[in-house]
Every structure is written in C-alpha cells, then in structure tokens.
Symmetry: D2
Subunit: 344 residues, 4 copies
Amino acid sequence: MGSIVIKAAVLGATGYTGTLLSRLLHRHPEVEVVALTSQSHAGQGVQEVFPEQRIPGAYVPFRVEDADGWDVVFVCYPHREAQDVVPGLLDAGCRVIDLSADFRLKDPGAYPIWYGMEHTAPHLLEAAVYGLPEVHRTAIREADLVANPGCFPTGALLGMLPLLERDSVSRVIVDSKSGVSGAGRRATAKTHFCNVHENFQAYAEIGHRHTAEMSQEATEVCGNEVTVVFTPHLLPVQRGILTTLYLDMTDPSGTGSTARELDRLYRERYRDEPFAEVVGHAPSLREVQGTNVCRICVRVDETAHVVKVITVIDNLIKGASGQAVQNMNIMFDLPEITGLEELA
Amino acid sequence: MGSIVIKAAVLGATGYTGTLLSRLLHRHPEVEVVALTSQSHAGQGVQEVFPEQRIPGAYVPFRVEDADGWDVVFVCYPHREAQDVVPGLLDAGCRVIDLSADFRLKDPGAYPIWYGMEHTAPHLLEAAVYGLPEVHRTAIREADLVANPGCFPTGALLGMLPLLERDSVSRVIVDSKSGVSGAGRRATAKTHFCNVHENFQAYAEIGHRHTAEMSQEATEVCGNEVTVVFTPHLLPVQRGILTTLYLDMTDPSGTGSTARELDRLYRERYRDEPFAEVVGHAPSLREVQGTNVCRICVRVDETAHVVKVITVIDNLIKGASGQAVQNMNIMFDLPEITGLEELA
Amino acid sequence: MGSIVIKAAVLGATGYTGTLLSRLLHRHPEVEVVALTSQSHAGQGVQEVFPEQRIPGAYVPFRVEDADGWDVVFVCYPHREAQDVVPGLLDAGCRVIDLSADFRLKDPGAYPIWYGMEHTAPHLLEAAVYGLPEVHRTAIREADLVANPGCFPTGALLGMLPLLERDSVSRVIVDSKSGVSGAGRRATAKTHFCNVHENFQAYAEIGHRHTAEMSQEATEVCGNEVTVVFTPHLLPVQRGILTTLYLDMTDPSGTGSTARELDRLYRERYRDEPFAEVVGHAPSLREVQGTNVCRICVRVDETAHVVKVITVIDNLIKGASGQAVQNMNIMFDLPEITGLEELA
Amino acid sequence: MGSIVIKAAVLGATGYTGTLLSRLLHRHPEVEVVALTSQSHAGQGVQEVFPEQRIPGAYVPFRVEDADGWDVVFVCYPHREAQDVVPGLLDAGCRVIDLSADFRLKDPGAYPIWYGMEHTAPHLLEAAVYGLPEVHRTAIREADLVANPGCFPTGALLGMLPLLERDSVSRVIVDSKSGVSGAGRRATAKTHFCNVHENFQAYAEIGHRHTAEMSQEATEVCGNEVTVVFTPHLLPVQRGILTTLYLDMTDPSGTGSTARELDRLYRERYRDEPFAEVVGHAPSLREVQGTNVCRICVRVDETAHVVKVITVIDNLIKGASGQAVQNMNIMFDLPEITGLEELA
C-alpha cells in the first residue's frame, strides 16, 4: 500500500476544524497535503499564524483551477458558502468531503426552512452521502460527495442507533452539552472567557438546525417517524460533547428490556466498529478528548420505561475532522483507523 | 421590629453550606449567631480556618445542653447524622431547620429504600414540613421542624410547579447540571481539580436519591402520580445548578398550550414570589450566582408536544443556605427577603 | 448625614468597570445615580443589556450640557478619549474621577512616550491627583480631578509602600498575574475562551504602560529613583490580580531586616487603613474577590537579601471601581468604607 | 536497530508521572513494558483503574527479585521512598531513572537540610547523574543511575543556561507558575476544584526544595556562586509550567547585551537540541502542552539592566516523564526523539 498517496487539500484551513484536519492529514501516512487555503492568512506560514501548530507549509488562496490533480478536498467553509464551491470541485474530478451542513439534508425543501435560503446546488443533494460510517459505510465507499455529519448528530445518532434498528422508537430527547470550540474560532460575546468561565447556559433552546439531521437519519434507520427534541448547552470546556438521550418506544416491549439486554444489544452492534465503544460506566469527556472514539453507555429506568443513553465524543475529532479522515479512509479503501490510531 | 433578635445556631458550620449560612446569618439584621459548632475545628477562629471568610467568632463543640435558649438551629450535618440530634433540639424547645435529607420524605417506608438504613426518628416525619416556600409557605410558618429541600429538587420543582398545578403531568425528565460545590468540601477523587477541569460527566445515572423528593412533591401538587426521570451531571464550575426539564401531560391539551400561554401562566404564578423570576431568555448560571433567586424560562416544542423548562439557581443559596434563611424568615414572621436582599 | 445625596454620573457605563461602578453607586446610601451613559446601548434598559445586573434604569447618550448639576462624574472611557471630555466636565462644575490612564502621569513629556500621542489637556496634569488613598488621601479630599490608579500599580504600590517610605529601594521587580476581566469586555482573540482556558502567558513583556505609573509614584514616595521591572501575565480566571514583588535596597541594611521586623513594619503602616490588610500567609485571589481589600504578605529571603512581597486585589474593585468609590467618599467627606462594607 | 528491545519497568505506575510514563513507554517502538507496579491497585487492569488510558496490562506488586532481566527501571516513588529501592535495583543489574528528588543533590550534607532526614544511600549520590540532557548528555549516556530533574528546575535551568555559560550571573529570580497536576493525584484541600478554580496563589514562598537543585546546577555551569530566589505559584490549569526569570550579572557587560545579541546567543546554544526551542514571542503553555518541548524567549530590560527570560514546559512531560524517556534514549543509544516525536 506504500504506493498510494492521496493528494488532499483543505479549503478554509484556519478555523478549528481546518487546523485540526491539517494536522491529522499531515501525519497521515498515505496523504500528501497539497493545499491549505485561507482568505485571511494567504501567504503566511502555518506556524507563524498558529505558534502551537507543529506542521510545515503556508496558506494559499483558493483557486478552483488548482483543484485539477487533487484527489480529495475537505471543505471547511461555513454553511451557505460550501455549496458555492462544491460543484466546481466535483467537475474538476475531486472527491469532496464537506464539513459544512450544506449537503446533509436530503429533502430539497428542508434546506430553506432550516438555513434560510434557497440551496444553490440542490441537484447534488440526492447523490451526497451522509458521512456517518457506522450507518452509511458502503455508500461512503463509492461517494463522490460526502456530507460530514454535524457534531451533535454524531454523538446523538450513535447513542440511539442500536435501538432504532431493533425497535420502534417514537421520540428521543437529546440533551447535549458542548465545549466552546464548537462555536468556532471567531471572537464573540458568546466565546468571551468571562461569559463562559464559571457559567453554563442553554442556547437555541427550540429549533437548533442539527435537529433536522437527527430526525432525518433516525427516521430513515428506524423506518417510522422519530420525533427529536433537542437542547444544546454551552459547557465551560474547550473540547467535547456529552449527550444524554431519553428514548421512548411506540412498542413498549422495547423499554421492557432489562439493562443487561440493552447493554448486550449495544455491545453486539458496535463490536466491529473501530470508533464506537460501549462502556459500563457513565463516560466522561476526558475519556475521548483527543481521540476519534465515541463512548456509549446505555441504562434503563425501569420505573419510568425510558431508555437513557449517554455518549461522549471529541467534537472536533469524531464530531468533525477525525470523522472526515475516517470517511476519506473508507473512500480510498484504507484501513479505517489509518492516521487515527495514535490519537490520545 | 428592632426588638426581635433571633438567637441562631449552626451545627456543622464548616462545610460549604455551613460556612455560607454562617455568613448569611452574621449579616442578617434580626439574628444573633449564638453558636457555630464543629467537631474538627472546635476552638479555632473562623478566619483562622477560612482566611476568605470575614466574620468574627470561633467554632465550638456541639453540646445539646447549650441548646436551651437557642431560638432556631440550622443542622448542616450529613444525612443519617442529622436524625440523631434533631429530637433533642426539639425537646430543648428549639425550632429546627434541617439541611440534610433526613426529614424530607414523608413515607416512613421510603427512607430505608433510598438511604439504606432505618430512620431513627420516624415519628417526626409527619410533622416535618418540606421547606419549599413557594409550595408550603403556610405550613412552614407554624413548623417546628423544616426539612430544607435538596438542591436539585429546588430547581426542578420550581420549574414544573405552575404546570403541575394546572395540568395532569404524567412524566418529567429532569436533566440537571451542577457545580462542584454540590459535592461538598471533602477532598476526593471526584472533586480533584484535574478530574473536573476541562471535563464533564453524569453520575448516579439511575436512582439518585433526590428523585424521591421530586416525585413526592410533584405527585402531591399535581394530584396524580408523576414519574420523575432524573440525571445529574457534574459541571466544571463551583456554583450553580441548571436544570432542563421535559414535561409530558396525560391530557394532551396541556402540551397544546402555546409558548405565549405558558409564559403567561408561569409569570402569573410567580408574580408575588420574591425569589422566583420568569425570564424570556435561556438563563445562565451567572444570573443567579450569589443570589437566592431561581430564574425560570418556559418553552414549548410544538412539534413534539413537549414542554421544556430551564431553571437556574445557586446551589449553595437557593439550593441550601439561602432557602434555609428564607424559611427562618417565614417561621419568625419577618419579611421573606430580610438578610437576602443584597446578595449579588 | 441623611441629607447629603451625591448626584453621580457614569460615562461609558457598559464596560466592566462601568457596569460594576453602576452597581456600587446604585447601592451606595449617599448617592443618587443621575446618568449612565453609553454610545452603543443608549435607549436600552440596564437589565435588558445585562440580564445578570439587578439595577433599574436605562442608558442615555452623553451630552455635556446635562452635566450641569452633577456633583461627581466617573469617566470610564479608554485612555486617549477621556482627556477630551474631562475639561468640559470640570468647566461645568463637576468633580471628576477619571478611571482611564489620561491624568495619571505628572510629567507632560511622558504621555506621548507611553501613549503615542500628544496630550490634549496637559494643563490639567499638575492639578490632577493620583487617586491612591493610602498615599494621597489629603490631596484627594480637595481635588477636582482624581486620576484613579491602574489596576497593576494599585497592587504593586501597596506592596512596596512601607519599604519605600523607610528605605532606599533601588529596584523592584513586579511580576503580576491578572484575570481576564482586566482585558475588558471586547471580544478578541486574546479573550476567546479557547485561548485562555487551560493556558497561561505573559504579555507586553517589556514596556507595559503601567510601568510609568509605578516608577513615578515609587520614586516620589522613596525620594530616590526607583527602577521598576514589570511583567504582566494573563491568568485563566475572571477576577483578581496577584503581584509578586522582589525588592532590592541601595542600603543593604534594609534587606538585613528580619521577617518579623518587616511584618511589623507593614502591619503598623496599614493599621488604620480600611482596605489594606497585612496577613501572615500567602494570600490567594479568593480572599479578595468581590471586595475592595488589598491583602499583603511580606517575606524576606535572607540568603539572597531580597524582600519578597505578595499582594492580591480584585482588579475591578480595588483595582478600579471600588477604589473610585473610595476616592469619592474621601472627596465628599464620607466615611471611607461607605457603600463598600458589604462587598463579599 | 529493530533488534533492540529495552525491557522497561515502572515502579509506582499509578501516579500522574507513572501513568503518563506507562503510556509513553507503551507506544515507544524500542521498548517492551515488563512491569507496571502499584501497591494500591495490584491485580487491577490499567483501563479498569483509569478508563481514559488506552493501554493493555494490569498492575503488579513490586518485588525486587523480579528485577532480574529488567534493562531499565523508572522509579516514580515519592522522595524518601525511592532511595530505599534504588540500591537493590542497581544490584540486580538494572539501570535506573529515578523521578524522585532523592539523587539530585550531590552534596551529602544537603539532603537532610532540604528533605528533613538522613539519606539512606549517600554512597550513590556521587555516581548519580543529574538528568538534564542539555547539560549532562555525555554523562547520562554512561550512567547507571540518572536523577531525573524536578519540573521547576527543568524550565528554570533551560532558561538561564546560555547566559550561565557565557557570563557571570550573580542572582536569578525564578517566578514560576505551575498547573495542578504538579501537586500529584492525591486528593487534598490544595487540589480540590473549588480551591483552585477561579483562584491563584503562591506557595512555599521561601525555601521550596527545588531551589537547591537550581542553585547546584546553575553554580556548576556558571563557575561562580549563583543565588537563586524562587517562588512557585499554583495555576488553575492542569498541565504546564511557565517560568519568568530575572537575571543579574556580576559583570554588567552581560546585561549590556542587546535583545538581538541575546536572542542570537540562545538560538545558537539550542540549535541542535531536539527539545529546546527559542522563539521570538512570549510563549504560552498551550504551545508545549502534550509535548517534550521547552520553549524559551529572551528579552532584556535595557533601562534596568536585567535579562528577562520566559520558558514554558509541560510539567508532566519535559518536566518529568518525557524527559525520563529522553534520558533512556540517550542511555540506550537511541535517537533522542524516539517515542517522543508524535506528542502533540
């Protein structure tokens, strides 16, 4: 396999996901990083801009004519902006992993509702594959365009997947707590140290956009309409998302499962997954920070007939850049853990 | 009113609730602090033990014979230990505000189930009043023994009270996030800085003892059995609890309320309450830290027919010492906010 | 004294010092807050802008013609901007407490060197009084214009004052560590949570502007030229400054003092000061957060003949707004602690 | 080199340095971990005790008879305890890297002064090599017993080394700020989250034991007596030490160096060092956390004739476990960065 070298570019390489992706790709044994693009920092060296980064190279402006010869492009633009460059990249023959939300919703009518504008490349939505390997591995392998999942949906969906596949889940309450890096590198009142430190708060208490992704995928897997009730909160930590799920079944036999049965169901489902680990204790962010792993714990409240699941991920890795690399590995027939083993 | 001076003692005055209570009582205009007791620090000055405290006095050992002449005693012992001293204090003619869990559950059969031992003073359970002023104000006024509520139940119950009183709530999911001071002053692996900082975790994921209090009170107010599903989490902050509630109604007309109707319901219910404030935004811990206030925001997920409520309190104040002072004010016919106004 | 009511205005009332000052003045028993001005938030209610503030009123734009009838004006503008409004306020008959750096340096030639522009009101520099009560109390009483000290100089000067008065100090190394609120409310890369949390860094390692204030005051008190070497660092906390001082004497007899002699010297010097407390242990930020107190500990390294002093203050209170209120109290012949007692 | 496999044991493998060392050795390509010993956790699996660790194996009790066949032993015991096992390990033919303070001071008379007891193996002090590779690389290569430096001395000495070698430094003020992991895994009042978070404090303000190490090494390198004045402080962060140094020269020509000359001196001195990096900005903890790198910035206060140096290290890596691995690499003729490259 020594002869495979994937030429990879990162568009928008100076945000949190972009910088982390740059480092993951730099140390990936089968990848050559051919371009790190940035509008604001074009011409500057990576270490000049980020003294804590330890990778060579400099930022360049993005020009679509350079894309010729790139094997894979990671698009780290904000939603609404990614859809403008993706068609050109596909035309240039690149395979694309888009980390924005632009190609996650399959229903062309849904985008304007959740993102407030008409999609400019709706013809690509059908072919785009939702890049959650634990669900769509086969389709990802062949995809030209992978829509990398949102950070919250990643942790939430992995927490409900085994039950969705087995039972008729009617409703899931998704109570998520995320570190500040999820809000991006931009300095705002929301990310000011004095507003976050020794503080805690919910936000987008009704109608957070990730709800749509979760509903779409949960419903597709389950076969019946799954209602998702989602509340994100902002933790005074940098990295990590912990999600507490509360699942109701249409068929109460599901909630009749004992704790032991559910634990076994989850362990069997994820036995061969390299990045989903079922544990017997309430997992903490610490256990997954710096890794591509999602840890999952399933409990049942036998009095209330509710299944409780807790999942933890590193929002920047399994929730973004690491999952993107995992998707690339699948697309290029590499072992899925390549370049992701040593993360700790 | 200048002639009223309440002689108050604090038993177990060196824990977090005890030290805060000492300070609140010290600055209370109608209180004379007659004893601060401590086993481990008896004989030492308050400022010697806690350089950040700015109150006079020294710790003394507790002897029940000293209780003669005390008007009110705040018991800040751990559960299981409080029940041993409360009967003697009542016999000595003191009114007692117990901050432990020992007298909160009315059902004598419940204590062994949740606390793992037979209660040693079960005959007092019936007369003890659950000290949530927003529910039991009248009874508190006459009570000789007030069981000060747990920190989690305080924030949870205030978040569901208006709906419990109006509708048939069938189930409440209570997802709470608490600062570390809730775990007490004892140094343990759980409270080690390196285990908490940049971390987040659920604990007691099934069967936390505060579930019993919440069920008891919710069911009593609502009139039908209310199932409580409770998950506490440990935040990397010192002070504050944020609780996110998800309420289901047996009668779906309740969940059919619009956001505006619910907001009005809550505002009306709490209009005359000095320490419950209904707000129109998702409240943060910052807004209530250092105060006796509970801030509450009510939302409805109209798609899912679920009412979402978010409450924030300072766990050491409204969740413990401040509520204890509020109860004392009620018991001694003082304006309820006396000694609690300037908290900020 | 019930008849004294000071009409006070705060210009630039929405920054950290401005909001805190607003609250201090609101609860001050002898003050009527007549105006809180803001460019950006004019017309909005205080609680609307800052849900955690618990004071009434709304922001208004500043117009100098309104100043007629104001007894005292607190100017919370950035340096360079304060000097533009102060002359007009004095002309209107107000007494002014300027919290910017504009009137702290007495030497008209120094301002351009340290602040990069010509001073626009240099004629006021001589009459302006440096508002450190522990040094200039008498002059403050009569002053029309008080230049409230910088946060770093406050903690540093109080740490060296007794030695400066007694000995010939030749050089002071001032190693300061400040919380993030010292950087102000503006959201920048420097104040982004992810750049501060679990991090620590020096800044302005050579030539921080507060060096000039410290040298000016130390030299004036000592009578000989005192060289100040200053390094500020940014702590991942919100509130507080800890300063570690290392003092060399020209006359080595000073450093020959024993620890006990120095402790006595400091305690005697500050015996009657309401807000300077000498302690026998290494003080922590916690001990002074939320108060107007400076705690001071003096040590001597007898091997190295160096005096080590550690001081802690709350940068927003004794380092800014609280000291401004203390200065107002002096100017209006009130007991110095009025409105500052209950801070905790 | 594929045939070299170093059989390594870690004694006291469950503390912070021990667990990190276990992980570093586990991923080291030339090492086989033959024993991880623990008193308290013998018989338990590593992942069972530490769910966030991702290495196989279980803890065993230490028995010196097992040491036969171990090539190198890392002793992670507290000082006073290490000296009891080291002689036996050397007798068994092991090479020893001791991470305690027991073999750092060369003067047999110094140990009782600083550590309060007679040394039980003083005959080994002379042969023990102080394991700072940047100074003692040649001696480390041949050593049977390496005394791994303290965390504070590592950052301090690397900051002064180039000047010590060139000039007659008379005194160094060492103002250090350390993360909490430096205080170890034991839960104490000092490490309780609520005592550290939003707080900051000096400790051992006079006479911290690391002063002795710094003086010994600085004096040896410089050739004249170097006085060290040291103050450690406790930061509310987990990992990292930032040290601010202030150096005085006996020969003032040294302090007469320009900033540019000093920068060049430092860059030349460290050009070939794999883990000492001279930078042109004030380095932050973030830049070195998770790495074995020491970053160094040199400045001169030309007015005060003082050289200011700022260094940052990860206290658990370059300050302990990483430096121990670096020493092992030197002792076994491996490239110095083996197993330490990917740290980030």
